[in-house]
Assembly symmetry: C2
Homo-oligomer: 343 residues x 2
């Protein structure tokens, strides 16, 4: 047998596709004193404080399950990208700078080609954000991937959910709804041409965590969240924790050309209730509008005002249509249903 | 319907069984600036340095899968205990003091009674070690639990795997092999009386992470590991990383009364290759023997010398029997097979 045809054990594969590359990443991270290979990783707190000046460690964890968060036979490269992307997106929602991550993965069997592609997707994104893999666990089981990600931020500056203020504008980055549009096509809820599907499914499979944007929003924005479960559901977390309400101009929510070519009803469904876009929704006082528009130009990334934070009322979110009228209650209720993983 | 009979949604249940109790725990942890409920948890690095004097954050992650790490229909209280225990055991293997943990869990369905018992087992152990839940994710899927645990240690003192030195004694805590003895009975590899099974299965279901012992070993021991995959397999990680070899006096490895009543062959199998005991295996120079024996008395916990670290040789581990003779190569090889989750 040639070397590449030799069946490899779990440890060899982890060594080849994860450990060696992870340790390679650590060379530029003197604050990580110990990476993969011991019972624990070690991060030097003093060194981390000294090199970054940021006083808090931000931590987020996510679990992605085959058949629930991604399709069986999902492209392993894109899957590796997405698993880390959704976690980096949580850091972005806080304004935290990536520091490192751990990976726990259950797989039904060890396939070198799959692992190679998966780890390529993972490390390509990790390297792009200088975010090394510092620990992990591999086991047999239904394909399930859990990542815990670490970042640095100063707590007082962090874009926490409880910091929205009455009078703030509500903004979103880029475009909302493509991931839902792609999912609906896969579920046969509506048809898309192959060309349309290829465009919008890229947003579902390979979301871009808004890490750079979020760094620049520190000191500008108040509250932020990443849109993973749907714009209105995610916004409601900000509202509840900030004890405020909101008016959302639903037809101002930016969509892609493909989505904008669809019926108003489908656009609203995808933009308001669709998840998985991983764009940022954030609030900022109106006097920061010019700064935000400048930031948009600097980054080449659309940032769009979609509503206002209002004082707390019995109606958490009021949806306003393109003519400035509130949506009828029954239609409104349909979009406001919150997302529940077990429904 | 009475209140307790009302079906609860995911968010209500997480609120009731996790979030409220987690936030309760945080009251005694001023260095945790933000717990569950935002995109990320925030740990104040400066405050953590000031209150503990410990300069490194230790991080470990584990994933437990139904049917692999625990039986379908496992008692949810014990499962909650065990999931956290195996992670605290990783901190113990490093000498780190628990600081907090995140929990990601996939469940096929939401059952309040199950969640209540699971969270009770989890929080009872967490509270015992002042280790609050600081973040999490819940989703639908095959029952899979991933915990990432955080602790504090000073890196220079940490009981890292690469620190074993030639001439060190090898020690283990308490007794080894009961978890394997219980598992074998469940697998019908050998019979146990109900009474015997009840005694030894408690070790499998409710392991005790040696957190207190490990704190006290700082400055005394060199290298340490927790026995999760089997004594010889786990010891081999220390040996490989420290670039040394070892002699193990296999009949000195301490077992329980139940295990010691079995054949020598079964005793050796359970003690050398069995996993899941979560006792500590550590190395220390011979001059520390008196200090270790005193520590054993102080904690009321047996600590037993089971071998020696030797200079690196082609034979990583030499097994010595009760008469001081090396085991025949074929018998030795049988115990030295390393554990592989995919075999």
């Amino acid at each position: 047998m040639t070397d590449s045809a030799k069946p490899l054990g779990e440890f060899d594969l982890i060594e080849r596709f994860f450990k060696n590359r992870a340790n390679q990443q650590l060379k530029n991270h003197p604050e990580i004193h110990l990476g993969i290979g011991d019972d624990c990783a070690l991060i030097g707190l003093e060194k981390s404080l000294n090199t970054s000046g940021l006083k808090d460690l931000a931590i987020s964890t996510d679990m992605l399950v085959e058949g629930r968060h991604f399709l069986p036979n999902a492209d392993p490269y894109l899957l590796g990208h997405k698993c880390l992307a959704v976690n980096l997106s949580d850091l972005a929602a806080m304004g935290a700078r990536p520091l490192g991550f751990t990976l726990a993965i259950a797989m039904p069997e060890v396939k070198a080609a799959w692992l190679e592609a998966f780890s390529n997707g993972l490390f390509d994104l990790a390297n792009q954000h200088q975010c090394p893999l510092i620990g992990g666990d591999t086991t047999a089981g239904p394909l399930t991937i859990s990542i815990t990600v670490f970042g640095r931020v100063s707590g007082s500056e962090a874009l926490a959910r409880h910091k929205a203020q009455v009078g703030d504008d509500i903004w979103v980055s880029h475009q909302i709804g493509d991931a839902r549009l792609a999912l609906g096509s896969l579920r046969l809820e509506w048809p898309l041409s192959t060309e349309e599907f290829n465009v919008v499914s890229a947003r579902m499979h390979a979301p871009t965590p808004r890490v750079e944007l979020s760094q620049k929003l520190l000191g500008i924005a108040h509250a932020a969240i990443d849109i993973s479960d749907g714009l209105l559901g995610d916004l409601s977390h900000i509202l509840l924790q900030s004890k405020v309400s909101a008016e959302v101009l639903i037809d101002q929510v930016p969509g892609s050309d493909v989505l904008n070519s669809k019926s108003l009803e489908l656009q609203r469904l995808c933009k308001l209730s669709g998840g998985d876009d991983y764009e940022l929704c954030f609030t900022a006082s109106t006097e920061k509008s010019a700064a935000i528009n400048n930031l948009s130009k600097e980054l080449g990334l659309a940032l769009t005002k979609i509503g206002k934070i209002t004082s707390s009322s019995t109606q958490l979110i009021t949806l306003i249509d393109g003519d400035g009228h509130p949506l009828p209650p029954n239609l409104s209720a349909q979009y406001l249903k919150s997302f529940d993983h077990f429904k």
